[in-house]
Amino acid sequence: MRKYLFSLDHKVVGLQYYLLALTALIVAVSLSVLMRLRLTWPEDVWPLFSKLLPSAFNNAGQMTPDFYLALMTMHGTIMIFFVLTIAPQAAFGNYFLPLQIGANQMAAPRLGQTSFWITTLAFCILITAFFVAGGAPLAGWTAYPPLSIISSGTGHARGMDLWLISLAVFSIAAILNSLNFMVTILEHRTSGMQLMRMPLTCWGWMATAMISLLAFPVLLAAGLLLLLDRLIGTDFFTPNGMIVNGQIIDLRQGIPILWQHLFWFFGHPEVYLAILPGMGVVSHILATFSRKPVFGYRTMVWATLAIALLGFLVWGHHMFVAGISPYLSMTFSFLTLTIAIPSAIKTLNWLGTMWGGKIRLATPMLYAIGFVSLFVTGGLGGIFLGQSSLDIYLHDTYFVVGHFHLIMGSAAVFAIFAATAFWFPKVFGRQMNEDLGKVHFFLTFIGVYAIFLPMHFLGIAGNPRRYAEISQFIYLNQLQPLHKFITIAMLITVNAQLLFFINLITSTFAGKKVNENPWQATTLEWTVTSPPPKDNFSEPPNVCRGAYDFSLPDAAQDFLMQTQADSMVAEDKPVEPK
């Protein structure tokens, strides 16, 4: 009990986070299945399900639009916070950060464990929202007031309060966890592990931790203020002169748009938070499986930091048509397109890493390649949305939905797949099944394109997002075949994920046993046994080189561990031909 549930071992904490994220993923994806079914076939009756959750169905047994919005809100919230924030950062980071920098533990092991349990608490609070009177909130993951301030009626009652409390609790956990990461990276690197020798994964985690420290307090503050507006009737975001359910709400002095500023000041960095560790993992894997150093390591580091920084300067691009000053919109639009530059450099460097390499197409590599493709496609969608004038039309349409699902949904999840397949041998001493992995990759890769690409077309045709059905508009009716296609593609893709779970479970017990460094990678975690001993390193490793010394000319092997000193290289030649 003590050993597993409340262990101070960073590896146990990492696994706990991973399992939590996996659970959250299953819940969130199931919600999205229900959502798509309601959207595509709104007339359908659900005899069995309507008995389980009667409040979500009307008298005829059809799912209500309220419940559709609740599903949407919860899907978004769970995916963004409990999957995409914790899986890449807290799960893999807690497990592998100390291993990669040669530390025996995180800086504050108890803090890591505490933040995991606080996160779990937040998750439980959020799920409870489904079962309280009034049901889950329906204001979307952005919870714009005054919709989120209305305090009675389906989707507006206690569920909304729980949602806000859950997010506040989650923010605290995220801040604590990031504190731990920052201090660990700055103080617990082993001798010789200079910052510029760290694997790019560590840079990803560090950038993410910095973002969390700056962004989550804002969500916490905004969430608490909104909660006060709801619970005791303060005036932060409640505007004057509303009639809600026939009741006049007067003499209020709040400014609803402030919430948007605060929320997106947090919200935009948050989406980078989901992708930056993924970028790190993908760079890491591309180098390892191309048997080449990362192309432009320094540039990658600076691009990571640039993206993290710029992420804080572009929140206004979510509000181009929200009535902020047109001059402000122009500034935000420029800054937004500036982010395309470090992102494009990253893409160049990923391709550059593969160029002239010796590419091994093991499953982690496949997922990484999938990530690059999805990142490019999703990122280019951002070029449209970043332009304020195009955003007038595309804002809040399915174009946006398609865009962010490709780049921060699919790409980030592909990075999680890649990291799972890559590090699985280290965690369990066994490898995941390659054949299952390959089939899963093909199905999922084609699947996510089939789901999210057509959404761009829906957006171009002017289909607003968050519509429970499209039957009310003549110009939308003709899009029904496209919606059907997306739903069917989605059902197939979701079922294909069973392969991943089967693979994960069977490989844990029956996977092929492998040695401590099956991928012939260079970083420190591969120097210890698989699974790593409780105290990681019996003596602190001494790092002699950067993280990606693959195929060094004249070296005896095509990879040099970070711990290998130059004197151990076969020939003593200068090793940096340009």
């Binding site: 690409l453 045709a461 968050r466």
Partner: protein
């Protein structure tokens, strides 16, 4: 294996390009809705962006596929390279110039939309649109060109949706229309947007027009329709369970018809 993935990626790239071109060529129903204003800058900027990003997309995927295909596991000569600063800088500059150029072009359109609106409000037909869960209410000022006073206490969903104060003389000739906006063709319109409850967004796909409506504030937006016909107005900001059915009709009619329509009392 390598060939399979390379072909998959190439195939995918080409399919994506074809699908988007299909949308562009108008042969499928997922194109833009018909444009009913002479202001076509947004569409052309969209297609320009589509072309540029399309090229970037195609290039990167062709290269990605090619590398997978070419540099298989048996490649004996691995190019040892830690990067190429000159290439990266050149590339960054190139990408930067293209994207910033796009941004500049986009900003010019933005300026046209937001700063080139008719400044003299007397020439412009002013219409007030009030959003509430889940319908649009439109108000014309009538003969006196003045909107009468509205009071929240007088609001009645069925009989007085805006809460017009009949004691105010300006109110008497105000025309209130539920879920239907009637406008004359070829005439600049100034729309004053208000909300009774939560946030909404006034979205006319055919006009490429969208403006959020924020309670407690009145927002203005301007447009001009140049084509007679019936179109649809949607709500584009989540406003509650009836969001999906918050629809209004946009009827663009000739100027004479519009004047007759205003005179007929109550207007059809």
């Amino acid at each position: 294996m390598a060939a399979a993935i390379a072909i998959l990626i190439w195939f995918l790239a080409i399919v994506v390009v074809l699908l988007f071109s299909a949308g562009h060529l108008g042969s499928v129903n997922w194109n833009f809705p018909e444009l009913i204003t002479n202001f076509s800058d947004i569409d052309s900027q969209f297609y320009l962006t589509l072309t540029i990003t399309g090229i970037a997309f195609l290039l990167s995927h062709l290269i990605l596929g090619y590398f997978i295909f070419k540099y298989k596991d048996n490649n004996p000569l691995v190019k040892y390279s830690k990067g190429n600063n000159r290439l990266e800088v050149t590339y960054a500059l190139g990408v930067g110039i293209v994207f910033i150029a796009l941004a500049v072009m986009s900003q010019r359109i933005w300026t046209k939309i937001y700063f080139a609106q008719p400044t003299n409000p007397t020439n412009v037909l002013q219409i007030e649109a009030t959003a509430e869960q889940f319908r649009w209410i439109f108000r014309y000022s009538g003969k006196d060109n003045k909107f009468g006073e509205t009071l929240l206490e007088l609001v009645n969903k069925d009989h007085n949706p805006l809460g017009l104060n009949q004691k105010d003389t300006n109110s008497n000739d105000d025309i209130v229309k539920l879920s239907e906006l009637v406008i004359p063709v070829d005439e600049p319109i100034k729309l004053i947007l208000r909300s009774h409850d939560v946030m909404h967004s006034f979205f006319v796909p055919n006009l490429r027009l969208k403006q959020d409506v924020i309670p407690g504030m009145s927002m203005a937006t301007g447009f001009e329709a140049n084509k007679i016909g019936e179109y649809e107005i949607a709500c584009a900001e989540l406003c509650g369970q009836g969001h999906y059915r918050m629809r209004a009709k946009l009827r663009v009619i000739s100027k004479e018809d519009f004047n007759n329509w205003l005179k007929s009392d109550p207007p059809k």
